[in-house]
Amino acid sequence: MKVRLGVLAIAALLPLGGRAAFAQTLGVSGDPGLLRISTAVSGSEPIAVSNSSTTYTVSTPNPNRLHSITAQLNAAMPVGVTLTATLAAPPGATSLGPIALDVTARDVVTGIPRRTDSTHGITYQLAATVQAGVVPVSTRIVTLTIVQAP
């Protein structure tokens, strides 16, 4: 009898846990256009280019804790080439500004409050030194992840 009650209690709690686990969501509007560096001021490094055409939508309907968003690449950038991402922050959260992306997940937005449901801009910037040389068309996959703040 005790065993049955225990099973019933756990079974009753499971759906609650399942709902909480899938509460927060993160989506993007699409892929940014080509980032192409093609000019420089004589005597200076090549001029960086940026793209602010995409957005992300974050939803934290009913979490118990604050959330943050991390970003990481699927592969390292070529030597001398830097890709940074700036995610505008939802109200009450903090954008960490331009963050150079690599294969390590790095915080880009922190302190996302509970019951956030909003859309904000993403700005990518591509910079290159002359040491990068000529870089043919390449792609990297940026993975944005929403995680519970510790």
């Binding site: 065993v3 225990g6 099973v7 756990i10 499971l14 846990g17 399942g18 686990a21 899938f22 927060q24 969501t25 993160l26 989506g27 993007v28 699409g30 892929d31 940014p32 256009g33 080509l34 980032l35 192409r36 560096i37 093609s38 000019t39 420089a40 001021v41 004589s42 005597g43 200076s44 490094e45 090549p46 995409t54 992300y56 080439v81 890709l83 993403i122 990518y124 591509l126 290159a128 030194t129 002359v130 040491q131 990068a132 040389g133 000529v134 870089v135 043919p136 068309v137 390449s138 792609t139 990297r140 996959i141 940026v142 993975t143 944005l144 992840t145 929403i146 995680v147 519970q148």
Partner: protein, 171 residues
């Protein structure tokens, strides 16, 4: 009493299975707490070869040491370069030939890793002035002009020449 033991073991076994299943479900639920979205970023860097020169130097030959030819006149300017290629070079030429007896030279200081050809006589044919430019971005480099005249040149009224510098990309 003996008959209840198997029943208890069965119940405990079922409980163990249920707990194991729940553990897996909860683990999966925790894993699902990290929601992700992805974007594909496409990028490229083109070949970049840019130079700039500042200054419009004026050169006047107007004196001499007695017994020698006229003293040369000199003037300076600056230049800057950016290239992300290897073994680029810079050539120089003027838009029309110098008067007989007059010689105009240009001497460009080389940026790091490059090689200056030293003072080069300018003519309508392009001549190398700096070679071996490899992935460099450097400014405020000196360019020295020198105008020399022989006595045979006589008096030459004010004239101008346009010096064209060209950077040729490497590889």
């Amino acid at each position: 009493m003996r008959n209840r033991e198997p029943s208890t073991r069965t119940a405990m076994t079922n409980m163990t299975r249920i707990l194991a299943t729940l553990t897996l479900l909860l683990a999966a639920a925790n894993a699902a707490q990290a929601q992700t979205a992805t974007q594909t970023v496409t990028f490229q860097v083109d070949a970049i070869n840019q130079i700039a020169f500042t200054g419009s130097p004026s050169l006047v030959v107007n004196t001499a040491t007695a017994g020698s030819g006229p003293a040369a006149a000199t003037a300076n300017g600056t230049w800057a370069v950016t290239t992300n290629q290897s073994n680029a070079k810079i050539t120089a030429s003027i838009n029309s030939a110098m008067p007989a007896g007059l010689t105009l030279t240009a001497n460009l200081a080389a940026p790091a890793g490059g090689t200056s050809a030293g003072a080069q006589t300018l003519s309508t044919t392009a001549v190398d002035v700096v070679t071996g430019l490899t992935q460099v971005a450097q400014g405020t480099l000196n360019v020295a002009y020198e105008l020399t005249a022989t006595t045979a040149a006589g008096v030459v009224t004010s004239q101008s020449r346009t010096v064209t510098y060209t950077i040729t990309g490497g590889t």
